[in-house]
C-alpha cells in the first residue's frame, strides 16, 4: 500500500508545513544517527527514539507559543527542536559533553532547556504531569495567557502521579495540555495489559472530566491542528485539555530492545502506509512542491544533523573536579559540605 498523505488541514499554513517537515526530518535523522553511534559504541547508556511518533512531537511542539512551556518525555525530540534547541545541543547530551544541557551529568533524552521553557526530563514516569499542572497554576494565578504542556504514554497513564496531576489540573482549571502518546506498547507490554478501556481520551474525560480528542499521530498536520486548538482552548480559560495521538512505536523500547514481542509484520505494514515523515512528504507533493524541493529539505535537515554532530564532538568532556558544583543553587555557608575523607 502506498503512503497515505497527511489529510488536508486548512488551519496549517504552507510555511508551517515546511517547518513541520524540517522538524520530523530532524528527529528522524538525528535519532537514526544516534542509533548508529550507539551501535558503534560511541554513545553509551540507553538510547530511546521516537521513530514513528515524530509527527506528534513536531505538531505539538509547533502548537505552543514562545512563552508557553513544555515537559517532553523521550519520544519528543522534535518538540525540543521546535523551541530552538539545536541538534548540537542534543548531541552534546547524548555524548555526555561538559557543555551540554546537563553538563555531562545526564544522558540521552534526559535533558531540557529551562530557559527556553523546556523542563528537563525526569525518568520516573508520571512525575512531570503535576509539574506542568503547577506551571499552569502559576500562569493562572498571575493572569498570564500562557500554557503548559506535557506528554505521556499509555504506561505512564497507569502511574499514580498522573492521576493526581490530572485531577489537580481539572479541579484548578488551569491552562495545561496533556498529549497522550498512544503508541500501542509500554516497553514490552501491550496497552491491553495496561488498562481495560484502551481509548484513553474516553478515560480522561470519564475519569477526570478533562476534554480529550483523538488524533492520528502520524499526520503532522492533524496533530498541529488538533493540539493547537487544545492549546488555544486552554489559553482562553477553558481549563486543561487533552489530545490522544495514535501512532506506533517503530523501534524497540530503546536501542537495546529488538522488540521481538511485537507481532511480525505489524511495524513494517504500518511504516509502508503511515510513516509520519513520508506522509508529510506526500502532502507537500500534493501541495505543489516538486520532488526536488522535498529532497532539498531532506538534505538540509541531514546537513543540520551532520553539522550538529561535528560541533558536539568538539565540545569538551566534563571535568570531574567540578562534579559537586551546582548541587545547590545557593550552597550553605562556607565550611559546610567539606568533610575529611
Amino acid at each position: 500500500m502506498p503512503t497515505e498523505p497527511c489529510a488536508e488541514a486548512p488551519s496549517v499554513g504552507a510555511e508551517e508545513r515546511v517547518d513541520l517537515f524540517r522538524l520530523v526530518l530532524l528527529q528522524r535523522l538525528f535519532e537514526s544517527r544516534v542509533m548508529t553511534l550507539y551501535r558503534q559504541g560511541r554513545i553509551v547508556g540507553s538510547v530511546y527514539t521516537g521513530h514513528g511518533q515524530e509527527a506528534v512531537a513536531a505538531g505539538a511542539g509547533l502548537a505552543l507559543g514562545p512563552d508557553d512551556v513544555v515537559a517532553p518525555l523521550n519520544r519528543e525530540l522534535a518538540c525540543h527542536f521546535a523551541r530552538g534547541t539545536t541538534p548540537a545541543d542534543a548531541f552534546r547530551n547524548f555524548l555526555g559533553k561538559g557543555t551540554g544541557p546537563t553538563f555531562g551529568r545526564d544522558g540521552n533524552m534526559h535533558f531540557g532547556a529551562p530557559e527556553r521553557g523546556i523542563f528537563p526530563l525526569v525518568s520516573m514516569l508520571g512525575d512531570l504531569v503535576p509539574v506542568v499542572t503547577g506551571a499552569a497554576l502559576a500562569f493562572k494565578r498571575r493572569g498570564e495567557r500562557r500554557v503548559a504542556m506535557t506528554f505521556l504514554g499509555e504506561g505512564t497513564f497507569s502511574v499514580g502521579d498522573t492521576h493526581e496531576g490530572l485531577n489537580l489540573a481539572a479541579v484548578w482549571q488551569v491552562p495545561a495540555v496533556f498529549v497522550i502518546q498512544s503508541n500501542r506498547y509500554s516497553y514490552s507490554t501491550p496497552v491491553a495489559k495496561q488498562m481495560v478501556n484502551t481509548n484513553i481520551s474516553q478515560r480522561i474525560y470519564g475519569g477526570w472530566s478533562i476534554p480529550a480528542e483523538r488524533v492520528d499521530g502520524t499526520d503532522a498536520l492533524a496533530v498541529l491542528d488538533t493540539v493547537r486548538a487544545a492549546v488555544e482552548r486552554a489559553r482562553n480559560g477553558n481549563g486543561p485539555q487533552a489530545v490522544e495521538a495514535l501512532s506506533v512505536r517503530m523501534h524497540g523500547h530503546a536501542a537495546h530492545d529488538d522488540a521481538r514481542y511485537v507481532p511480525a509484520g505489524m511495524r513494517e505494514e504500518f511504516a509502508e502506509r503511515y510513516d509520519p515523515v513520508e506522509r508529510l512528504a506526500a502532502r507537500l507533493i500534493l501541495d505543489g512542491f516538486d520532488e526536488e524541493a522535498v529532497q532539498e529539505m531532506r538534505d538540509a535537515a541531514l546537513a543540520e544533523v551532520d553539522a550538529g554532530l561535528i560541533e558536539a564532538e568538539q565540545a569538551p568532556a566534563p571535568d570531574p573536579a567540578a562534579l559537586e558544583d551546582g548541587v545547590y543553587a545557593s550552597p550553605p555557608g562556607s565550611g559546610l559540605l567539606r568533610s575529611a575523607p
Binding site: P114, M124, A135, G165, L168, A329, L337
Partner: protein
Amino acid sequence: MTSVGHLEAPGTEDDTAPTGTVTYLEAIRAALGDAMREDDRVFLLGEDIGAFGGAFGVTTGLLDTFGEARVIDTPIAEEGFVGAAIGAAWMGERPVVEFQFADFLSCAFDPIVTVAAKTHWRSGQSIPITIRCPTGGGVRGGPFHASSPEGWFVGTAGLKIVCPGTVEDAYGLLRAAIDDPDPVLFFEHKRLYRTLRAAPAAEGHRTPIGPAAIARAGSDVTVVTYGSGVSTALAAADVVHGDVEIVDLRTVWPLDEETILASVVKTSRVLVLQEASRSIGAAGLVLSLIARNAFEDLDAPPALHAPPDTPVPFAPELEDAYMPSVASTVAALDELLSY
C-alpha cells in the same frame, strides 16, 4: 483538647501568657504572613489550609488576608501538589507547601528526592520550594502521626533540611527557607507549637540556612541536637552536674561541620540527642562526622540518646517511655560525664 476546631497540641494560645510573647506556631504564621506581604510570588498549597486554617491552625487568617489565589486548598494528593509546587517554582513562584503531618512525606517521597533535589544539578534550573512538615511526637499521634522522618532526606544532595527548636528560628528559618533558591524541608514540631513561647523575632529576621547555633556554651560536654531536642537539652543542662554546651543544628542537612567539630574539640565529649528513632534521623551522619574528624579530641566514646528502633507508639505509657525526656537526657549525660 485545648483548641476547638484544630488538632490538639499541648498548651494553649490564649492563656495567661506573658505579654509580648508569641508561640512557636504563631511565629510560623507570622513568617508566612510577612513573606506573603513582601513577595507576591509566595503562595500556599495544602489540604484544608484555607478557611479551616490547616490541621493545626497554622494558616488561620491567611485566606482572609491574601485570598484564594494565594492560599490554595488542595485535593488529597501529596505527590501531586509537591509536583505542582515544583512546576510553579520553575515559573519563578515561591510556593510553600503544607503537609498535614510530616509522616505523609512518604507519599511524596518521589517528587522530593527525584525532581526537587536533582533538577538544579542536572540543568541549572533552581527549584525554590518550601515544604512545611508538622513533625514529631508527644501528642499521642501513634505510628502514622508522630514520627520524625527527616532522616529519609538527610544526606540527599540538593535538599536542605531545617528543624527549628526555638520560637525565633521558627520564624527566621521559615523566612530563610522561603527566600532560598533550593528546595527546603521545614520540620515544625507539633509539641512545640503551643508549648514554646518567647518574644517574637524581629520582623524580617532571617536565621541563615547552614550555620548551627550554640544554644548554650559550656566546657565539659557537647550535646548536638535539633528540633524538640533543643529545649530538652537546655532543661537537662540546668540540672546535670557538668557544664554543658548545646549545639542546635537548626539546619540538619547539609551539616554545619565546623561548628559541630569545634564544639567537640572544645569539650572532648559529645552526646547526640534526637527524637527520631536511633538508627534514622541525623544521628548517624553526625556521629560519623565526629568519629572521622575528632577522634583524637575525644575523651570518651561519642554517645547517642534516641528512641529505640520502632515506630512511635500511641499509648501514653509507651510514648512517654519512648521519647527522650529531660530525665533520660540527664541520665545519658551523667553516664557520659562519668566515663
